[in-house]
Symmetry: none
Subunit: 189 residues, 4 copies
DNA sequence: CACTAAACGAGACGGTACGTCTCGTCTTGTC
DNA sequence: GACAAGACGAGACGTACCGTCTCGTTTAGTG
């Protein structure tokens, strides 16, 4: 049979509580117990939806991801890449940054979860850069043979900053990084 | 006054136990309680030395760091950088990799700790690359204006890999990264 | 709301473990930790029921108290009092004696707890004597004006013995005490 | 060899610290560790003098005991007994009361210690009453056959009060108790 | 309309780890 | 040798989460 349907209000309450806790107290202060308490929901209701903290974060982040802008396409590699990076970095300075840090913390504690994050969340961001590079490659602009390395050059420093110095992710840094990556992408004989 | 000196055997037992636990069971399986139990030492003896897990890892890693080789200096930028990266990545495939992951996990849970890690451990690695770049710059080879960005290009992807795909850190990846970074460093007009 | 009801088996296991520990190892050997371990119950389960050791003992003793015989009423003051004292002292020679000692130890470390013990456990015993004295007083036998002092004469020596010489609490001692108290109760002009 | 003699200042500091702690924080707050810290003395210096908390208390109490008045001897049983009890009870309302409570707590946790307390400290108090009763017995006033029971009638209620209601030990209570005990002592045919 | 099945809040449960405290012993260097 | 200092193993303290498990109650469909 069907049984009682899940209450969407509960869904929202959980996500909201998770978000609140993580922004107010960081990953440390975000516990399944705390989420339930804060949202006025039973622990079971949380565990019914998510197998663990990681999945909660993943879901909360997905909400942000859904509202994100599409990949820029101005015909200019530098402009496209810069726009994307500026937007991405700007987000990392806000709530999504805290969520990504939490995500990283979870991933470090469960390799299987790291895999999921990689394929579900990170892949999308990488795709965006891959598209930009692909278009530039079609225009003969990009000569570097391996997109993946270039993409690592873009996002590696971002995660590095999230780990040890989140304040670094400014527009200026986005620009510097963009230039360096473009140089690496376009100056291979 | 002096008081009874700390027993070096206890120091070693703690470090060894921490190392064992982290390599066998990962960051998750490493607890202050477990370290004490495994090393046959009282919890107090552990807490007397380290205020938390993070500091233990930091200290264990320091032992590895101390035994690390000096910065290569062959007069050839590519060879120097490649050697350094290959060595560093090779280490990340082993025990130090697990330790670094643990370190990252801790750093994510305590920003103050992230700062310490940054200045005490990471700085040394960055210095090595800075020296290599500096020498090449003296030879007129490096034209990119900002060492820091270049260094981020080197280590960003490494941490990124440690977070989501540690298996990526092969010699081949070290080579690809080296080439990309050198391109970025040397092709700025 | 209701929530999952407490498991009575856990209640019993805790009480039994506490009882075992206190009889086998005395108050010293009875710890919240030990109770949990011995009963195969989590520490939380214990702390959920009792805020501290004292309350555990109090509860264990209550079980004994509930099964105690009613106040004797033969119409003869000496017989009534003697019976009560013999029974009470006999109990002190057994498990309840150890429990009472533990109770005293706890009471000495927390005045607030002493108050509780006084009103919840000791009061019942005093009431029994008060009833016996009251009936004798109705028969014109007891002339001493203050029951409370007489009751202190009865139980004071008992606690004194529990503190320093538990072996003293024999039937003979009960008889000697009974006689002395009756003399004090009945020979006031 | 003789070695360095013990520093009397250390002796005093320990006793003073123990006294302070016990009066300020009760038995709970009196720890060997605390005594050492408070007195500015090493733990070893404390343990060198006393095998445990109990002995410290015993020693501190002994100082008080030494300064106590001699057994009253006015030729009047009631007056002698009343004086003794009033003085004794008055002391229990003060610092010696707290010390006695601590003593009781210790005795409950180590039967062997209870024995020592009994023979060293309590015996003196009992002797005093025994002397008073003896003199009255010589005058043909006391007819009760057993001094020990009478002495229990005197001190039992005192310890009982120390356990559960220290406030009870007033002059009025001393008087009531004196009268009851004298009745018991003098009205046996 | 009754029945069924799942969701829901509440909260108990066995675990595990946390960080702190005190115990009684020991090991330094200094006096 | 006493002494201050403080390390050491042991073990209890009380708390916090984990993920699972009852409870009794509500809320849809389905028959």
């Amino acid at each position: 049979m069907t049984g009682r349907p899940r209450d969407p209000a509960v869904d929202d309450a959980i996500r909201q509580a998770a978000l609140d806790l993580i922004t107010e107290q960081g990953y440390r202060g975000m516990s399944m117990e705390g989420i339930a308490a804060r949202s006025g929901v039973s622990k079971q209701a949380v565990y019914r939806r998510y197998p663990g903290k990681g999945e909660v974060i993943l879901d909360v982040l997905a909400v942000y991801a859904r509202t994100r802008l599409p990949t820029p396409d101005t015909g200019d590699l530098r402009e496209d890449l810069l726009t994307l990076l500026e937007e991405t970095f700007a987000a990392q300075r806000g709530v999504p940054g805290a969520l990504n840090q939490a995500l990283a913390a979870e991933a470090l504690q469960a390799p299987a979860f790291a895999q999921r994050v990689s394929s579900e969340l990170i892949a999308a961001r990488r795709d965006a850069v891959r598209q930009i590079l692909g278009r530039a490659r079609d225009r003969g602009q990009v000569t570097h043979p391996d997109d993946e390395v270039l993409i690592d050059l873009v996002f590696g420093p971002m995660w590095y900053a999230l780990l040890f110095d989140a304040g670094k992710l400014t527009d200026a840094y986005a620009a510097a990084l963009t230039d360096a990556v473009i140089t690496a992408a376009t100056h291979v004989p």
